[in-house]
């Protein structure tokens, strides 16, 4: 091994592998030829090709962070029922396709038996998209896997059923960098205090000019503290975003007490009907409360069920609120409306109501 390291091999820069060898033969044969699809039941997609061939795909939730046994058990099921092919969705759901309708029910049963909930299709709450958190990241204020597991336990029934007005895409992010996407509902970290600086470490670890440059509000400046070069934060300017923390870990932004969770709604990446839109903050100040974050679950469910009970078919969360208005949204959910809901970032002008459109 020592030898290997002195004479290392040159990598084969093969990049993204060709998916065709990995594709179920029915998909391969009908590539680009699909005609329409329907959903015979929650968790099952039935696609029909112009060639007349058909395929049934069963979608099952996973924990994303999988151990070997979990992956192997998925492989076992795919081998037994589905010719040995499987794919994963962008939301870490497993999709197993079969060309024979009679295999659908047994496949579902096998998945369920192995502990994989079948669902996440159509107007359901699909798996929450997932970032790293305490399990692996170097800057997280919370744990993504834990929040997601806790929430998916609560929303399990909405995963295995299709009883939402439209598909619900929930996302999480474990720091304000936000590796998670926009969400119909997004659960994100929100720091509420400026970083606490470990001044004695700054000089060793941080490239000070580049830290200064990262601050979106120019709140950081070089300073000498206790005789050592360090950094200083104008705490009245600081928006507690944490952008200074990754390039300079001594700028401790995470705080067990003051790093809170906030819920955002109405983000939408698709272009169906309206253009893509960013999610908007509706409630903040929720405690970062492992292992089950009950306060977050409560608010998410409140919002989700208000949406479910009131939106029209095909309305995504944001579209529903746009129709009924924010006045009604806050009324229906009982959430408080505060000055913090009023955007104060660049371009905030466009977020003000500059019209006589009013709701009472």
């Amino acid at each position: 091994m020592a030898e290997a390291q002195t004479q290392p091999r040159r990598p084969i820069e093969s990049g993204t592998p060709d998916p065709f060898p990995h594709m179920h033969p029915t998909l391969r044969r009908n590539f680009g030829l699909w005609k329409y699809h329907d959903r015979p039941r929650p968790g099952v997609l039935h696609h029909v090709s112009h060639t007349g061939e058909e395929v049934w795909t069963v979608r099952a939730g996973t924990q994303r962070q999988m151990d070997l046994a979990t992956i192997r058990s998925l492989c076992d099921i795919a081998d037994e029922y589905a010719d040995g092919y499987i794919r994963f969705t962008i939301r870490s759901n497993a999709e197993i396709s079969v060309a024979d309708e009679s295999k659908v029910e047994p496949l579902i049963k096998a998945l369920q038996q192995a502990g994989f909930p079948v669902g996440g299709t159509g107007p359901s709450v699909t798996m929450i998209s997932h970032t790293q958190g305490w399990l692996h990241c170097d800057i997280p204020a919370t744990d993504a896997s834990g929040v997601v597991k806790a929430l998916m336990d609560e929303l399990h029934e909405e995963f295995i059923n299709e009883r939402m007005p439209n598909r619900v895409h929930i996302t999480t992010s474990c720091c304000q960098i936000n590796c998670g996407g926009q969400g119909d509902i997004a659960i994100n970290i929100q720091h509420t205090k400026p970083p606490k600086i470990q001044h004695d470490q700054v000089a060793n670890i941080c490239e000070r000019p580049s830290v200064v440059a990262r601050c979106p509000v120019a709140a950081i400046r070089p300073a000498v503290v206790n005789g050592k070069p360090s950094l200083e934060v104008d705490e009245s300017k600081c928006v507690a975003c944490g952008a200074c923390f990754p390039p300079c870990p001594p700028m401790q932004i995470n705080d067990p007490e003051h790093s809170k969770l906030a819920i955002w709604v109405g983000g939408n990446h698709s272009n169906a009907r309206g253009v893509p839109s960013f999610h908007k903050m509706v409630v903040a100040g929720l405690p970062n409360n492992p292992p089950r974050w009950p306060e977050v679950a409560e608010q998410v469910k409140k919002i989700l069920y208000t949406y479910r009970d009131n939106a029209r078919d095909y309305e995504r969360v944001g579209e529903w609120i746009e129709r009924i208005g924010w006045v009604r949204f806050f009324e229906m959910t009982g959430l408080p409306f505060t000055k913090h809901h009023i955007e104060n970032w660049h371009g905030s002008r466009a977020k003000l109501n500059t019209s006589a459109h009013l709701r009472f």
Partner: protein, 417 residues
Amino acid sequence: MANKTYDTPKLDELESGPWPSFVTGLKRLAADKPMIAGVLGQLEQSYTDRKGYWKGGTVGVYGYGGGIIPRFTELKDADGEPQFPEAQEFHTMRFIPPAGMHYSTQTLRDICDMWEKHGSGLIALHGQTGDIMLQGTTADQVQECFDEFNEYGFDLGGAGPAVRTGMSCVGAARCEHSCCNEQKIHRMLINNFLDDMHRPSLPYKFKFKVSGCANDCMNAIERSDFAVIGTWRDAIEVDQSEVQAFVARKGRQYTIDNVITRCPSGALSLTDDDQLEIDNSSCVRCMHCINVMTKALSPGQERGVAILVGGKRTLRIGDLFGSVVVPFLPLRNHEDYERLLEIAQEVVDFFAENALEHERVGEMIERIGLPNFLEAVGLEVDPNMIREPRSISYVRMDDWDEQAEKWHQRQQESAAS
């Protein structure tokens, strides 16, 4: 009295055509008014050179710091002598018309007579800010002219960094959409700020405009610093038999395509027997359905006004619309009107003390942020003030709990009351 007149071949081309010609009018005046003869000469020169030839200066009346727009000619010959000496001075006096721009012909005739005496006879009805613009007099005439108009009942409007003349739509006087007494609001507001109008000492101009409904016939939301717009809080009034009559007259398809699908909030639905269903809690009070079916629909009965602050046009940071700072203020009684005045006073006072030089109130709000402005003038935040909540997480929310508590408290209080 045969005055000297000048050839105006270019302007003459504006005498033809079906629209009333200001050139013909000017020529008519020029016969008696040398000043206008000179103005025509200078204007012809402008048309030739594609260049303006007026400059400002200082002209005023005793006791007032504004209201007159002085103009001196810059069109001089080689010796520095005015090329059109009759038009050496050409000042405008901005007088405030009756709210809603109603006139008895007697008054209008009297205005004409007074202006014939003291000025050029050229009158714009009205300037874009709503003034009677008496255009064309000399510095030595303005005091006398003002005194006569003032005795008659007219006052000068604003100019410079001052509260300006206000405007209100015809509204209650002749419009079924009116949700408030536009004239009363208009006069109350303006006449409360006459000191700030006549002795300009604000950071910059400040305009009030009043529209009786969201059609905003006064362009108040963009063209004033303080827009008052009539609206209502309860349900739209529906006369279903008139709805049916409308559908019968115009057709179902037409009704759906032009009323139902045009509602910006999807609040309308037409039943199979041509009844109109309105989801009043979604309705944004845009006026469209009421405009189109004016016989069948009317604003609700619980009426009041919304206040939007900060409209202006282009200078400095680009055009701004005013934004909602009070979603609904009922105007049922004297106290309600007092409250309106109080809000206006707070806004003007805060503007006076905190705006930078040459900064409009809208720019100031943009600079300091709406929440700070609201707090300063004693108004509470409301979701009606925003199109949507923040989508950027860059914000300090140390006091979230406190702010949330404020809201819950207010909700409880309003539920209790």
